[in-house]
């Protein structure tokens, strides 16, 4: 198709020079370049007007309600995804965040073809995930944090071998690939231990390796850091970032932990109640991240808490929760203020939860 356009353009150049004004040709050439550019920047994922409804059975309370529901079931439609459209370019690392039940996992499940959308167009690598599910399966890798794929009683290497068979990876290539991934993910020491004896972090690393054996073009990670401790989280984050950078892998990641996305993604999509409320670079969201939540535990009971430029959320005898705007008061200043006046036992500084960030976006 592009070739014919090119030939057409050339012919047009030769003939058109006599008939049409020359600048029209240049416009045509531009069009061609644009087309080539489009091919180069081809989207890995295209979502347009995605809607997903769930039917939920409703039941009145008590035995009477149960009987009624048996004969005349009453369904209520719940719209989990209201209207989601976005594109993901090849090689991008996109983070999806949103509170529980926002619809981010539903969106991922539709993109990987395991759920049918109610309405809307979905294209992943140029394929329809529902109709060409098997074909797509060879090209994508998926990890669902809440649904382990590794065989529980067997060592991970057995599942890896099985996956290499399922995805039809030649034996020789599988060995090389596992060697390579085993090194990056540092799983070689425990690859032969039964999965049930691994720690959660080790297991998650194995899960990701299992989904990469067949060299997918896109990797979907649904809550990969769920339940992990801080160190394990950090490690997984770094690995994900490296995969995207070094292997040029397109990665879609969901989380309800802002920090996950903040640390590794360039682009952030926030979903709330089935709608996209934010789709832009991570740098812009940092404006909202200047707010910090500070929990303080005091050694002595405090009578009153007076601090300038600080929003006191709650205050008890030994505890207080504050919110600060780091533009108005720096953390260092706050620390100075507090330590000078009060005797503190403990202090935790954290980012506001996703829900609050969403609220701030709405307010603006």
């Amino acid at each position: 198709m592009y070739l014919s356009t090119a030939v057409g353009t050339l012919c047009f150049c030769q003939k058109g020079a006599y008939r049409v004004k020359w600048h029209l040709n240049i416009i045509n050439i531009f069009k061609y370049i644009k087309l080539m550019h489009k091919e180069y920047m081809k989207n890995a994922i295209e979502l347009k007007g995605l809607v997903k409804d769930f039917k939920a059975k409703q039941k009145d309370k008590g035995l009477k309600g149960s009987l009624k529901a048996m004969f005349r079931p009453n369904y209520k439609e719940i719209r989990a995804v209201k209207n989601i459209s976005f594109d993901v370019k090849k090689g991008e690392l996109v983070g999806f965040i949103g509170p529980n039940g926002a619809g981010k996992s539903t969106a991922i499940k539709i993109m990987t073809g395991i759920m049918y959308p109610t309405k809307g167009k979905v294209k992943v690598l140029g394929l329809n995930p529902q109709k060409e599910r098997k074909k797509l399966a060879y090209k994508i890798g998926t990890v669902f944090g809440q649904k382990p794929q590794l065989m529980y009683h067997l060592p991970a290497i057995d599942t890896f071998y099985l996956f290499s068979k399922i995805y039809e990876v030649p034996e020789e290539e599988f060995r090389k690939r596992l060697d390579h991934l085993g090194e990056i993910f540092e799983i070689k020491d425990f690859i032969k231990q039964p999965v049930r004896k691994l720690s959660l972090g080790q297991r998650m690393r194995c899960e990701i390796v299992a989904s990469l054996l067949h060299k997918p073009e896109i990797l979907f990670l649904d809550e990969p850091t769920i339940g992990l401790d801080l160190i394990a989280k950090k490690r997984i984050r770094k690995l994900i970032k490296d995969l995207n950078k070094k292997e040029k892998l397109t990665i879609i990641l969901t989380s309800h932990d802002m920090e996950d996305v903040e640390k590794i993604c360039k682009r952030l999509v926030i979903i709330n109640k089935g709608n996209i409320v934010y789709d832009d670079t991570i740098r812009k969201i940092k404006n909202y991240l200047k707010y910090k939540v500070v929990d303080i535990l005091f050694e002595d009971p405090i009578k009153e808490l007076k601090l300038k430029d600080v929003n006191i959320i709650s205050k008890k005898k030994y505890k207080a929760k504050l919110e600060i705007d780091t533009d108005k008061i720096s953390i260092k200043k706050l620390l100075e203020h507090i330590t000078r006046r009060y005797n503190i036992a403990d202090m935790v500084i954290s980012d506001p939860p996703v829900e609050e960030i969403i609220e701030m976006i709405y307010k603006k």
Binding site: F54, K55, A80, S105, T106, K109, T112, G113, I114, M115, Y116, R133, K134, L136, A137, Y138, I140, T142, F144, Q146, K147, Q149, M151, Y152, H153, L154, D158, T159, Y161, L162, K165, I166, Y167, E168
Partner: protein, 263 residues
């Protein structure tokens, strides 16, 4: 390559299920108990005659060895597993693997089922041998009997799938299973060969899938004849074909309804 995939699925699942090996031996203990009761029961019935419905006592007991070993195939477990995966939505996570869900389930269960069958069969043979002694077995009967037992596993599996897939529409599928189980007991020839039933019941029972699972392979095993073998394979294979079509239609309609809890 495609079949190789399923072979490996079977192999790894067998390894994984060996963690539950104790369960095997408990169920074979149960089989021994049931066999002892049945032997005592049939002894009484054979007190004043040598042949009932064309079976001698020894043949009858050996017939029960086969039906017993087939009935103990882990059908309930398969139904519970598929039903659970449908209801919880876990089935969805297997859709994005490049294999057929039903075929993968079949191969992941077959190793376990055959191993369990072999253990139960051995236990039942052991009891039969001690109490009624060996019978004259035709070498063809044993060979084709075992093939037919394998087919009856395929058939049971497909029926289990049909029942389990109904979970897309029904809240509870174990009612269906209960019905199927009882039909199998009476019309399938689990406790006695169909030949004992009155004709008006016997003839329809011969054409139903229940007898293709139990009666045909068991009778073929103890009382071989080429005509009976042809009949056995004809009924078994046709029911397998019908059920494959039914399962794939039900599956295809059902899978569109899949919704994942907590997504």
């Amino acid at each position: 390559m495609t079949l190789g995939k399923y072979y490996h699925i079977g192999k790894i699942n067998l390894q994984n299920s060996l963690a539950y090996i104790i369960d095997f031996f408990i169920s074979s203990g149960l089989v021994i108990m049931i066999m002892l009761i049945l032997i005592a029961l049939w002894r009484v019935l054979y007190q004043d005659r040598n042949i009932i419905a064309g079976f001698t006592l020894a043949q009858m007991i050996w017939y029960l060895v086969i039906t017993e070993s087939i009935v103990f195939m882990p059908l309930r477990g398969i139904i519970r597993e598929i039903e659970g995966e449908i209801k919880s939505g876990k089935i969805a996570y297997q859709l994005n693997k490049p294999y057929n869900y039903i075929a993968a389930k079949f191969f992941s269960k077959i190793g376990f089922a055959l191993l369990r069958w072999a253990i139960i069969f051995t236990a039942a043979v052991f009891i039969a041998w001690i109490f009624v002694g060996p019978i004259q077995l035709n070498i063809y009967g044993v060979f084709f009997g075992i093939i037919s037992i394998f087919l009856s596993f395929v058939l049971s599996f497909l029926i289990a799938c049909c029942i389990a897939i109904m979970a897309f529409w029904l809240e509870e599928v174990f009612g269906l299973y209960f019905m199927y189980d009882k039909m199998r007991f009476i019309l399938g020839g689990f406790l006695f060969p169909l030949d004992i039933l009155p004709l008006w019941l016997q003839i329809p029972a011969r054409y139903l899938p229940f007898s293709a699972i139990l009666y045909y392979p068991a009778k073929l095993f103890v009382d071989f004849s080429p005509e009976f073998m042809a009949k056995t394979f004809f009924f078994q294979l046709s029911w397998i074909l019908v059920l494959i079509i039914l399962v794939s239609i039900l599956y295809r309609i059902g899978i569109k309804k899949v919704s994942i809890n907590g997504g």
